[in-house]
Symmetry: C2
Subunit: 388 residues, 2 copies
């Protein structure tokens, strides 16, 4: 996997919650990086989110991201904020930078305090382990119920210069917009002015992390950070749109990895609603389908139960016309103008690990898409016993 | 169980979908009954719902309810409407009444046509079996994934006269307001003018069937019928409020039976949100908690995971203040002003088959409550394989 210049990575086992695997990660930029961040809209923002929001108002350039799994440091009050600040201060001392130059991110159980002494003890090891090769370790240290680490990279060649993007993410549970519930860090070695970064990240988020759902629950800790350290030189302004496209691709791939690894998920399903009267209507309907537990269990059962699809579309009471609605799975008709079609060919498509449900409403020109997964026994297993 | 005067019941096995149990039921009033009905708000209303809505505009008195399980007769187009009308016409002939005096109700798989010839064949047996004693058979014939039949009765004594209410319901899946997804028929022998019936039923529905959720999916077939045949005489107008109260109690008990028998459910949970700024806000938050798959799996795991409760409350972005929020389970504090309390005593309460989660927001005076159940392996089992 290509890596952007000037970034070092490290991860150690701090024993926060998991045993025998790294749970504390550090990303360090050798030079100050312009940055942008988007955060959860949950009322109860975790301490690292509050600090991230504070940084956004304070500093245009940062040097590092400190991330831990196992403990969300959410709903921990002023003490939780202090815990995070203590760690950032310690780490800043070791890195010889200011604490404001470090972005914090946590994921894991809500309501637990961070085991600060234990984490402090391993900070020197964390710093000592920094290496350009250790990005996969950080991707692993971010994992909670994730079953695999998530990394994506892209390379741009512009006027003979090479610019690289690298994205790391964790997801699995409490995955819903807005904004999709997860951590993601995207690093680039391009020099991009901060005024460009924030809108580019918002755009990328809208088409990716905000279009996925596992269970409709929005966490207290969702965070996406984008860092641009300029080590590969200035990105010519005519290449900004190329960069934005690449950024959106990286975000989208990470988002799909998150859904594919949704808690207990065995299938990745794209729900596309077309021919709506407005993009908002299309999105509401796509989300209604993507959130429906009955639809999601039917996906798991590989049952082309179009009655449930229609019921999910109809339940919002938007005034749809049944006789105008057609539904396709991987392009094969399941409902044509309100009537069920023979199901055998469609059922075969549902045996696949990925498929698309396309709904045509016959009402207008607008469309929207959402990515979801199936609802399985393992979702229950993972979540009934998560803390025990 | 007390039964209202002048109602006969019958059920037979029509082999619509299930084997070895009744799946076609009939309720017959010996005299015309004033009636009221409330129906699903799903855009795609099943044929029996469309006919019920039509009746509501046409006739103030009816004689019978015909109900079947196994096939919802939903999304079946003009043919589905014709199927229902054919059956009602046949049945009307056998009962020597007009088809408009029969209210239809169906529940089961969406998108299937009714096996009309098979049902026609057993209609004479259905009529021949009418008896005041067979109400339990009808409650059984309505069942789909329900594990037990649902009946509730109440008796009022007013000025030496006895008035009786009897309610029958089926629920289990696709249970969500508005209006809660199920069939329920409430019969009384009181004579109540139709102008009183409709608002009384709306009021009763609001506090019962509209306050429950199993999976947040609203079906195409939800129907509540209320019949009042006057066989026990006229209800004095000063007793209307007593009647309304009894009606609300019957509806509420039926609603609770439905949640208790929610698909795969092992626990009935009442979610009460108090101290909200408005009833709407309280209701939105109660529903957010009651719908959250992560909260519901934690109920199943008997895990007092208050972080998930807070995350569910916060995800709407209503501007709540964490430090004002307290949460109790069966009165025992789990969160006090945003801080987690020792969990052991609370965990014990969660071992019960029923418990109450009370959220105090500290923002105002308004409150709302919703009934929900846990999300279990059996929900997945039932719904992944429902049609196969």
């Amino acid at each position: 996997m290509r890596r952007p210049q000037g970034y070092l990575f490290s991860a150690v086992e701090a024993g926060i919650r998991y045993k025998g695997r790294p749970d504390l990660g550090l990303i360090f930029s050798q030079t100050p990086a312009f940055w942008a961040g988007v955060f959860t809209r949950n009322d109860f923002k975790a301490a690292p989110v509050l600090l991230g929001l504070k940084r956004r108002g304070e500093v245009s350039r940062v040097r590092a991201i400190l991330v831990n799994s196992g403990c969300a440091n959410a709903c921990t009050g002023p003490e939780g904020l202090q815990d995070a600040e203590t760690l950032l201060r310690d780490l800043a001392g070791l890195l010889r930078i200011s604490p404001e130059e470090i972005l914090p991110a946590s994921t894991g159980v809500i309501g637990l305090r961070l085991p600060v002494p234990r984490i402090r003890k391993v900070l020197p090891d964390l710093v000592a382990g920094l290496s350009p090769d250790h990005a996969p370790l950080v991707a692993r240290a971010m994992m909670t119920t994730d079953t695999f680490p998530k990394m994506v990279s892209r390379e741009l060649e512009i006027r003979g210069r090479r610019f690289t993007l690298l994205g790391l993410a964790k997801g699995a549970g409490m995955i819903a917009p807005q904004m999709a519930t997860m951590l993601a860090f995207i690093l680039t070695d391009a020099l991009i002015p901060p005024a460009e970064l924030a809108p580019a990240l918002r755009e990328a988020t809208e088409g990716s992390f905000n279009r996925i759902t596992v269970d409709g629950d929005t966490s207290t800790n969702d965070t996406v950070y984008l860092l641009a350290n300029g080590q590969a030189g200035e990105l010519p302004s005519e290449a900004w749109s190329t960069f934005r496209e690449a950024l959106s691709e990286v975000a989208r791939e990470l988002a799909l990895l998150i859904v594919r690894d949704g808690e207990g998920a065995s299938k990745l399903v794209k729900v596309v609603v077309r021919e709506a009267r407005s993009a908002e209507e299309a999105e509401l309907l796509a989300r209604a389908v993507a959130h429906s537990p009955l639809v999601k269990t039917a996906f798991f059962g590989e049952d082309p139960n179009w009655g449930r699809l229609l019921a999910a579309l109809g339940k919002l009471g938007l005034g749809l016309s049944l006789e105008k609605i057609s539904i396709f799975i991987n392009g094969i008709p399941l409902v044509e103008r309100g009537r069920g079609m023979p199901e055998e060919k469609v059922r075969k498509e549902m045996h696949r690990a990925e498929f698309t449900v396309e709904v045509r409403l016959g009402l207008g020109q607008a469309s929207s898409e959402v990515f979801t997964c199936d609802l399985t026994y393992d979702y229950i297993k993972i979540n009934a016993a998560y803390r025990t």
